[in-house]
Symmetry: C2
Subunit: 400 residues, 2 copies
C-alpha cells in the first residue's frame, strides 16, 4: 500500500527474525522448548466446565452484559484476601484492577507513566514481550546486569548516581525470572525499594511465575515490602489456572489504580465477564491453592528431568541456571557462539529453543538460550536435550 | 501520594463530571436512558450455555491454552465469509484481527497510526469513549458538523483545502451513529472515500450498530465501497450477541492488519479463547442472522414506543432525531439550556439520560442530550420520557 503514514512507535515494533524461525517450531513432530506455555495436562478442564455451567445458570444474563472496568467485584475481593494470606500483601479490593493477562498490566501501567523518551530500568536479560510494550511508548532503556541473585542493584545505584540517568520506571520479574529463572535476593529487593523511594521510581513487579516454587524458601514480594506505594504488582491466572481465559490483575496504590482504570476503560472497557466469573468461582471454591500444589509437583519433576538431561548431555563449556521454580532454564555458551545459528541446526533435527538475543535491549547475549520445561513430556525432555547437546557439541567443534 | 510523575497523556484522561452524576443512575428504582446497554432479555443465554459446554467437551485443553494473536482461526474465517454475504465486504481471514470489543480496535488502530500532535477528524458530536482513546495518543481534533445525513463531508473538504489542517485519520460511526442515531448518506460516503484517497487519510469505520436496522434501506458500508484499502472496519458482537464476552474485530488491508496484530500482541497477547470459540460456534450454527432479526424486532418496537412518548410528552421547543436503527435518539433543547443541570433535576425524579457535552470535542452541545431505548421496558419508556418531558417544561419556564 502506498503512503501509509504510520506512527513513529511502529518503527520499533516490527516482527523479529527469531519469531520467523520459531514459526518452524510449530511444525508437527517438533520437540519445542521454545514457548512459555503451561502444560495443557495441568488445566483443570472438568472443574472449569462445571463451574462455567453454573455461572450461566446462576447469572447468565448479568454475566453477558457490560461489566464495570475495575473488574468483577467478588474477584477483586478474593484477590485482595488471597494476596494477604498467600503473600502478606496488604491490598484492599479498591487497589486492584483486573487485566486481560499480566501483559495488559504492563501496557496499562506504561500508558499511565511513560512519555516518549522516558527511561525504563530493565534486568538484562528480561522478558521480551515487555520490551514490545515499552517500545510502543518509545522509551529509552537502562539495562542492569543480573547474576544468580537477580538484578545487580548496586549497578543500578551507580547508574542512578550518574546524573545522565533519570529513569521513571523499573520493570522486574523478580521471582523465577523470564528468561533466566533466577529469583532476586531479599537483600537486593530491600535495596531496590530504597532506591525507588530515593529516586521517585515506580516499580512494576511482574510476578506470573511466583507460585511455581519447587524447592527452597519463599522470598517476600517487593509489594509486600513496599511501604511507600511505589510498587505496582502484576499477577496472573495464566500459569496457575489457564492462559486462554486471559485474566490477570494489577495491584497499586489507589491513586495509581484509578489512573490504570481510566487507561483500561479506553483500551477495552473491561475484561471478559465470563472469564472473570469462572476464575472467581474456581478460587472461591478453594480449588486454587491445591491446584498450585499439584502443578508444582508436576513441573518440579520436569525441571528435575531437564536438569538431569542437561548434566548428562550438554558439554562442559555450557553453563546454565538452576532455578528453584518457574518455567525456564537459561544457558550460556562460550563467547563467540551464536545461538540463532544453532537454532537453525537444531530445527533441522526437529528440536527447538529460543535464542537469547531478543531478551536483551542492547543486542547482546548471542551466546545464550532459553529452555522451557513445563510443556514437554519426560521422553521429549530426555530426547530433545540430548539432541540439542549433540548439536551444540558439533557446533562448538566447528565454530567456537 | 507524593511526586507521582505520570505521563502527559493522563492530563487529558481524567474522569468527567458527567460520569460522577451517572453513578447516581445506578441507584435502585432509577429509570435510566443513559447507558448504551443492549437489553439483557436479548441475550441468548440458553444457547450460549449449551455451546460453551460443548466447547469444553470438544476442545477444553486447547481452548484453555494460549492462542494466536490474530484470533481463533475458524472465527476469522466465519467473519470473512459473513462480511461478504451480509455486507458485500470482500475480506480474507488474513485481513481480520479479533479484538476485545470494537473499543480495543479503536485503540489498536490509533497505536498503529497516531503520533502525538496528529490531527483526527471526528463527527461533531461523536462517540465519547473514542475521544478517551484519541486523547491518550495526545491528538488534535478536526471536528466536522453533522446533520440528518451524517458528517457534512463538504465541510471536511473545505477544512482539508485549508492547508493548516493535515489530518491523518477520520473516525466515523457512519451507521446509526452514537450519539445521534443518524446514518451517513451513500453520496457522502463516496465523497468521504474520495477525500481519503486524495489526502491519504485512514478511515476508521466503527460499526457496532450496523445490524440494528428497524426500517429503511441498507446503506453500503464505507469498507464495501473502499477500493484503496484506506478503511479500517471495526465490527463487534457486543450488540448482536453479548457485550460481556468482549469480542469484536478489525478488518484492514493486510499490511495494516499485520501492524494491528503487532500492537495487539503487546497490548494483551490475544482475546479470551473461550469467548472467541463461543462466538464462533454460535455463528457457525446459523444462530447469528435469525438472532439479529429477533433483536431488531424487539428494539424496533421500543424505538417506536420512545418516539411515541417523545411526541406526546416533550415540548415543541425540543427537536430530536428519528433514527432508522441503532440504540439512541438525540435531542436538542433551545440554545442556552444546560442539560447537565437538567440531568440533576431529572435524577431527583429518578430518571436519567446523558447530557450531550461529552460527545463534543470543543465543549459545545450544552443544550443536547442522548436517550437510549434498548435497555428499558415499555412502562419505563412511557413513564420516564413523560417525567423528563415534565422536567424539561419546568426547566424551560425557569431558565431558557
Amino acid at each position: 500500500m502506498k503512503e501509509l503514514r504510520m506512527a513513529e512507535r511502529m518503527e520499533k515494533m516490527s516482527g523479529s527474525a527469531v519469531r520467523e524461525i520459531l514459526k518452524l517450531t510449530q511444525q508437527p513432530n517438533m520437540i519445542s522448548f521454545a514457548g512459555g506455555l503451561p502444560s495443557p495436562d495441568s488445566f483443570p478442564v472438568a472443574k472449569l466446565q462445571e463451574i462455567t455451567n453454573e455461572v450461566y445458570s446462576k447469572s447468565g444474563a448479568q454475566m453477558l452484559q457490560y461489566g464495570i472496568t475495575e473488574g468483577y467485584k467478588p474477584l477483586n475481593e478474593f484477590i485482595a484476601q488471597w494476596l494477604k494470606s498467600s503473600k502478606n500483601i496488604t491490598a484492599s479490593p479498591e487497589d486492584i484492577q483486573i487485566t486481560s493477562g499480566s501483559q495488559q498490566g504492563i501496557d496499562l501501567v506504561s500508558r499511565v507513566f511513560l512519555n516518549a523518551g522516558d527511561q525504563v530500568v530493565v534486568e538484562s536479560p528480561s522478558y521480551l514481550s515487555a520490551f514490545q510494550v515499552f517500545n510502543s511508548y518509545q522509551v529509552k532503556y537502562l539495562p542492569i546486569p543480573s547474576d544468580d541473585q537477580g538484578m545487580q542493584v548496586d549497578e543500578l545505584e551507580k547508574a542512578l548516581d550518574d546524573n545522565t540517568n533519570k529513569p521513571k520506571l523499573v520493570y522486574t520479574v523478580a521471582t523465577f525470572q523470564n528468561p533466566t529463572g533466577i529469583t532476586m535476593s531479599l537483600e537486593r529487593r530491600k535495596k531496590l525499594l530504597q532506591l525507588a523511594d530515593k529516586h521517585k521510581l515506580i516499580i512494576i513487579e511482574d510476578n506470573p511465575y511466583g507460585e511455581l516454587r519447587y524447592e527452597g524458601e519463599h522470598v517476600p514480594t517487593l509489594k509486600s515490602l513496599d511501604t511507600q506505594g511505589r510498587v505496582v504488582y502484576l499477577g496472573s491466572f495464566s500459569k496457575v489456572v489457564a492462559p486462554g481465559l486471559r485474566i490477570g490483575y494489577a495491584v497499586a496504590h489507589p491513586e495509581i489504580r484509578a489512573k490504570i482504570t481510566i487507561a483500561k476503560q479506553a483500551a477495552d472497557v473491561h475484561s471478559s465477564n465470563l472469564s472473570q466469573q469462572i476464575i472467581y468461582e474456581y478460587c472461591n471454591r478453594g480449588y486454587l491453592d491445591p491446584h498450585i500444589q499439584e502443578i508444582c509437583r508436576a513441573y518440579g519433576v520436569k525441571r528435575d528431568a531437564m536438569f538431569k538431561a542437561l548434566d548428562e548431555h550438554f558439554p562442559k563449556a555450557v553453563n546454565w541456571t538452576r532455578p528453584e521454580g518457574g518455567l525456564f532454564i537459561w544457558a550460556e555458551l562460550p563467547q563467540g557462539c551464536d545461538t540463532t545459528e544453532l537454532l537453525q541446526k537444531a530445527v533441522e533435527h526437529r528440536v527447538a529453543f529460543v535464542p537469547g538475543t531478543p531478551f536483551f535491549v542492547n543486542n547482546t547475549g548471542q551466546n545464550t538460550l532459553r529452555l522451557n520445561f513445563s510443556n514437554a513430556t519426560f521422553e521429549q525432555i530426555e530426547y530433545g536435550i540430548a539432541k540439542i547437546g549433540e548439536v551444540i557439541k558439533e557446533y562448538l567443534t566447528v565454530n567456537c
